[in-house]
Amino acid sequence: MNQKYKIVILGATTVIIFILFLKAINTDKVYQPNQMVNKKIPEIILEDFNNKNSKIDQNIFSQKDFVLINIWASWCVPCLIEHPFLMSLKNKNKIDIIGINYKDENTNAQNFLKKYGNPYSRIGVDKKGEVTIQLGAYGVPETYVLKKGLIIFKHIGPINEDIVNKILELKK
């Protein structure tokens, strides 16, 4: 074999191996909060917060053009921090927000909403924390933005001014 070809083959092999290693090294090795983004909302069934005999399922999200899912609890301090932003999204920007009340006592949750206002059009109850795992969440608060049942954005932690702007941008 020609010496020139040998060098080219050796060079090409080295480059391929280098790329393979680089790709493996660059693979995200931390928790990926965006794992559920660009996926359809999975099958979920929640008990209705206001009516124990009624259920809320994933179809409610698929029917809406633009909707937020907010996982919250009355015992969660960061939820209290983000609450004014949720109220503003509902009242000022007319954004539909569906709440998931996470591992909470109904009375405490009712009192929370009475005291600070209710930004949710409907609320589902996840008493055991099973539904939130279906959604790929790990706690409260978490917010998902959905367009016709497709998750287009997810935020972990309390929402703030920047996230509100991002949500409004996504609505356009």
Binding site: I17, L20, D28, Y31, Q35, T132, Q134, G136
Partner: protein, 119 residues
């Protein structure tokens, strides 16, 4: 007498089945990362998140799902990072195979070099 033998056999078998199930459960718990903790598995963690995952895995096993189905479900929700032993994929396979390929190429080159020298 037959009844007693039947009951003893039943008890022994069910005890084995329960311990095998517990073993599998613990094996899965130890392979699932508690993503809200620092380098702990859900087996070692008592956070709400770890407890919820343990309950869910237990329920899934009771419903007849196997280990792979449980890992697939959790990876689809939280990414591959959630398992300590990653599932065999193209990238991990490449990392395993590349050293052997290099070894083979090296061996071949040495062999050719020696062969040429002899001739």
């Amino acid at each position: 007498m037959k009844k007693i033998i039947f009951i003893i056999t039943y008890l022994i078998l069910s005890k084995h089945a329960i311990s095998a199930n517990e073993e599998l459960k613990n094996k899965i718990y130890k392979n699932i990362r508690c993503i809200v903790c620092q380098g702990q598995s859900i087996y070692d963690s008592d956070t709400d998140f770890a407890i919820d995952l343990k309950k869910l895995i237990s329920k899934k096993l009771e419903n007849g799902e196997n280990e792979k189905q449980i890992y697939d479900f959790l990876i689809s929700r939280y990414g591959e990072w959630i398992v300590f032993n990653p599932i065999l994929s193209f990238h991990s396979l490449a990392l395993w195979l590349v050293p052997f390929i290099i070894l083979l190429i090296g061996g071949f080159l040495i062999f050719r070099f020696n062969y040429k020298k002899k001739n």
